[in-house]
Symmetry: C2
Subunit: 193 residues, 2 copies
């Protein structure tokens, strides 16, 4: 009876709907923090023509490549490039004003070294770089994890950053749980012109 | 090129998508605060079999009836009932455990008397009544207006209320603007069993 029940179990349900509706054939999109590749896999199944995945840990790059090879067709794989790279800057081959969607999933690599987590300064530098890559109509999707201390600091810093973006150019929203205090939040920052 | 651009201009875009995906043929739905009838009209165009609209101001009931008559077919109109009623309780003819969606748009009637605004206690009483009317899988959608003082108090009280609902039974989310401080927020409370 239900297409999906419950409709929004978590922030992920909104994220996936948003990505699917936003991304069009011909688009370039980026997973800025591959981790174990779960978001990258979802992004690869959208209508984009080019998907970049980046992560600064070799194990994340390996895990992502493996997950994609297990789940994608050769044609889908031919559109993807996974790069060992910090999310503080983006590979030079991606031109400014060319990207529809940039996805961040912050915090540490699940199953990896919890001491290697995204840090506030790197993330803010990355968002500055990401802004320049976006097309008008492009968006940044950020999942924050306020359940650990560094994650709470990072979320506060990004919210402060997003709250200062001009409403004439940016539509910035937060989607957060009200009755699961440790639950991740989804931030959606869309550039309108 | 875009189905809708920008994707989320405001909370309304998420609200309309959510209602559309949630409501199924056969459903009963309620607009608990008709106002000038704009939400009621959107709800009447969904797949529901029965739509109730209620408002405690005669002018709101009149405006809603007029808007619906101008925009709906006789068949669509036959499924709607607009009632002069406080949202503190619901018409007795609506049985418990029977409603898919209950929509609130809080604050005062646009163009009406700004002294007649929804109040914290009435709204909380209404939410308690609404909970009992919902089917498992049903949801309450609330638009809050923190841009005026009573609206900020009301929003805080509802967030406090929602944050205490058991996560085993309820998925409660807030969708809010980060860079328009006075912008309305959308609260979505879905009962999962």
């Amino acid at each position: 009876m239900y297409s999906q029940f419950p409709l929004f179990q978590s922030h992920i349900d909104l994220a996936h709907r948003y990505w699917k509706e936003l991304v069009l054939p011909g688009d370039t999109i980026i997973d800025a923090t591959c981790g174990n590749g779960h978001d990258t896999l979802v992004l690869c199944k959208l209508d984009a023509d080019a998907v970049y995945g980046i992560d600064l840990q070799q194990s994340a790059v390996n895990n992502t490549n493996q997950l994609l090879k297990q789940n994608l067709s050769p044609q889908q794989l031919s559109r993807v490039k996974i790069l060992l790279h910090s999310h503080a800057c983006f590979p030079a081959e991606i031109p400014e004003n060319s990207v529809r969607l940039i996805v961040y999933n912050l915090g540490y690599l699940p199953g990896g070294n919890k001491n290697i987590t995204t840090m506030v300064e790197t993330t803010l530098a990355s968002l500055e770089a990401a802004r320049k890559l976006l097309l008008p109509g492009g968006a940044i999707s950020i999942t924050c994890y306020p359940g650990h201390e560094e994650g709470q600091k990072e979320k506060n810093a990004i919210i402060d950053y997003a709250s200062k973006l001009s409403p004439q150019v940016w539509n910035c929203f937060e989607f957060s749980s009200l009755n699961r205090k440790q639950a991740p939040s989804l931030l959606l920052l869309q550039k309108t012109k």
